[in-house]
């Protein structure tokens, strides 16, 4: 195992001393199989199957991707729409299973949910914190431990006992972010969602990200904001048509990506 890692020199990781892979993708490929026409009803499907007229179009959203992400890295993914960035995140966070190849994660994965996903409008902020926490895979005890901090960080005050249908969208967003980042994640996955709330709250979010990084969390992010990727990431991969075109230093990869467009 050790020699295998040495075969892949990676200057970005020397600062972390010993390399410790957190995510390994071996020849990962994901195939989507979609019917070329939308078949909405049973009747249609039955008739067409009999006539052998159900045609499927399949394409590879990821094709033979090999990748290792080390502990403590802030890893960025860039690429055009449909390049496979989100598919890559999904395959890492277990939402999709690879059609081929093998994905391994050596730590607990915490994805940031889209704002408001998993909340129930009729339940109070308090009840939603526990519901959302359980969706992210935490136990009651784990949520008890961070509850006060969540309330504090989200700046909701007494609103925490009100049903969240009465919340403003900013309050909604702050609560979601606070729950998702309440525990120090081993692997944090960010898909285009770092623009939460007003400027002051943005600042708090960035501080929290920094703290995660200092505490050795591994962060994987996708963003169209290239300057942000350049600023935050220690390593970047450029994806195109499901294939890694270039991987390495953020400056180099991003300028290559810019040059290609």
């Amino acid at each position: 195992m050790l020699t295998e890692f040495k075969l892949k020199p990676d200057s970005e990781n020397e600062q972390f001393g010993s390399m410790q892979p957190m995510i390994i993708l071996d020849n990962v490929a994901v195939k989507y199989r979609v019917p070329t026409e939308r078949i909405g009803t049973f009747k249609e499907f039955a008739i067409r199957t009999l006539q052998r007229r159900v045609s499927y179009k399949s394409f590879w959203a990821l094709n033979d991707v090999n990748l290792e992400i080390q502990k403590g890295e802030v890893f960025g993914l860039v690429g055009n729409n449909g390049a496979g960035k989100s598919t890559m995140l999904k395959v890492i966070s277990r939402v999709l299973r690879p059609t081929k190849g093998r994905v391994r994660a050596f730590g607990k994965i915490a994805p940031l949910l889209e704002l408001g996903a998993g909340f129930h409008p009729e339940l109070t902020g308090r009840e939603n914190i526990y519901l959302n926490g359980s969706l992210l895979g935490y136990s009651k005890e784990e949520m008890d431990r961070v509850f006060d901090e969540i309330v504090d960080f989200s700046e909701l005050g007494t609103f925490i006992e009100a049903p969240i249908r009465s919340y403003s969208s900013g309050m909604h967003a702050r609560l979601g972010f606070s729950v998702a980042t309440a525990h120090l994640p081993e692997i944090l996955i960010l898909d285009e969602i770092l623009s939460v709330g007003d400027e002051a709250f943005q600042h708090k979010c960035n501080d929290r990200m920094k703290r995660f990084r200092e505490n050795g969390a591994t962060i994987i992010m996708v963003s169209h904001g290239l300057s942000m990727v350049e600023e935050m990431c220690s390593r970047v991969a450029w994806l195109d048509h499901g294939v890694i075109q270039k991987i390495g230093d953020p400056l180099e990869v991003i300028s290559a990506y810019r040059g290609a467009n």
Binding site: M1, L2, F5, S18, M19, Q20, P21, M22, I24, Y32, I39, G40, T41, F42, F45, K90, V91, S93, R94, V95, L96, R97, P98, G101, R102, V103, R104, A105, F106, G107, K108, I109, P111, L113, E114, A117, G118, H120, E122, L123, E127, Y130, L131, S134, L135, L136, G137, Y138, S139, K140
Partner: protein
């Protein structure tokens, strides 16, 4: 390097989806509890009487049906008890299967973003139905007492038919939710089927009006056995014979295993199907 040799997640270790799903579901017990709690709390959140509606609803239906049909059908014993026990068993099935379908639809937004065991939406739907069922046993006892019907010792056997019914309902619910991810029309079609199915099951009419030569056909209906199990312990007050128990057990376990395997074999596709 030495510390982290065993991955937390390894896509290669999920070769038998039906078995690993069961393990995953165990890990997400707390989410299961939270989902059931949410469904119970929010169902009647805005109504004044709240959870009491779980009990009032079948009671109301029973009253109407008793008024309309009690002279038509001469049931032995108390017709209100007969009909209410049938309605409770049927409602459990109808609501449980529908909730399993809509639960998966609701969960689809989440499943595109995070990993949760996919069966959790179906299982929590049945869990919610079970809690509702326990609540609606209260009006059943009230009706038994007010109509001066006997309270049988066999009531202690009631958990068995309820568990069998829950298994059967979950099995059907999983099959339907799998189908409805491929064909959105399934849900609508199922509502019609449910109505027909209900009239083909002795819920409101006594079993005695079924013609002798048709009773064999009725026995092909799994819900016939489920409702019968339920009624034996509350209405007739006797334990089932082996010939009555085995078909119910077979349907319940068989349908659960079938539904579980069918659902989990397709569940990797849900994230981009719905």
């Amino acid at each position: 390097m030495a510390s982290n040799t065993k991955p937390v997640y390894d896509s290669a270790s999920y070769r038998v989806p039906a078995a690993s799903e069961l393990k995953e579901l165990g890990k997400y017990r707390y989410l299961l509890r939270q989902l059931i709690r949410r469904d119970i709390l929010t169902r009647y959140k805005r109504s004044v009487l709240g959870v009491a509606w779980t009990m009032l609803n079948p009671l109301g239906t029973m009253l109407i049906l008793s008024l309309v049909f009690s002279n038509l059908f001469n049931a032995e014993g108390s017709y209100p008890v007969y009909i209410l026990s049938g309605i409770l068993a049927w409602n459990f099935f109808a609501q449980g299967t529908n909730a399993a379908m809509s639960g998966l639809m609701w969960g689809s937004g989440l499943m595109k973003q995070i990993y949760v065991p996919r069966t959790i939406f179906g299982v929590s739907a049945i869990g919610t139905a079970l809690v509702n069922q326990l609540l609606s046993l209260v009006p059943l006892f009230i009706v038994i007492l007010t109509t001066r019907s006997p309270l049988f010792v066999t009531l202690f056997f009631l958990p068995v038919p309820i568990i069998l019914l829950a298994f059967f309902t979950l099995g059907i619910g999983l099959i339907l939710s799998t189908l409805s991810t491929y064909f959105p029309d399934v849900s609508e079609m199922y509502q019609i089927l449910l109505t027909a199915w209900m009239y083909l099951t002795p819920i409101i009419y006594p079993e005695t009006i079924i013609p002798e030569n048709l009773i064999r056909v009725f026995r092909f209906n799994p819900m016939y056995h489920m409702v019968k199990m339920f009624r034996l312990s509350v209405y007739e007050g006797r334990l089932p014979l082996m010939t009555e128990f085995l078909p119910a057990l077979g349907w319940a376990v068989g349908m659960l295993v079938l539904g579980w395997i069918f659902f989990t074999s397709k569940s990797d596709e849900y994230a981009y199907r719905i």
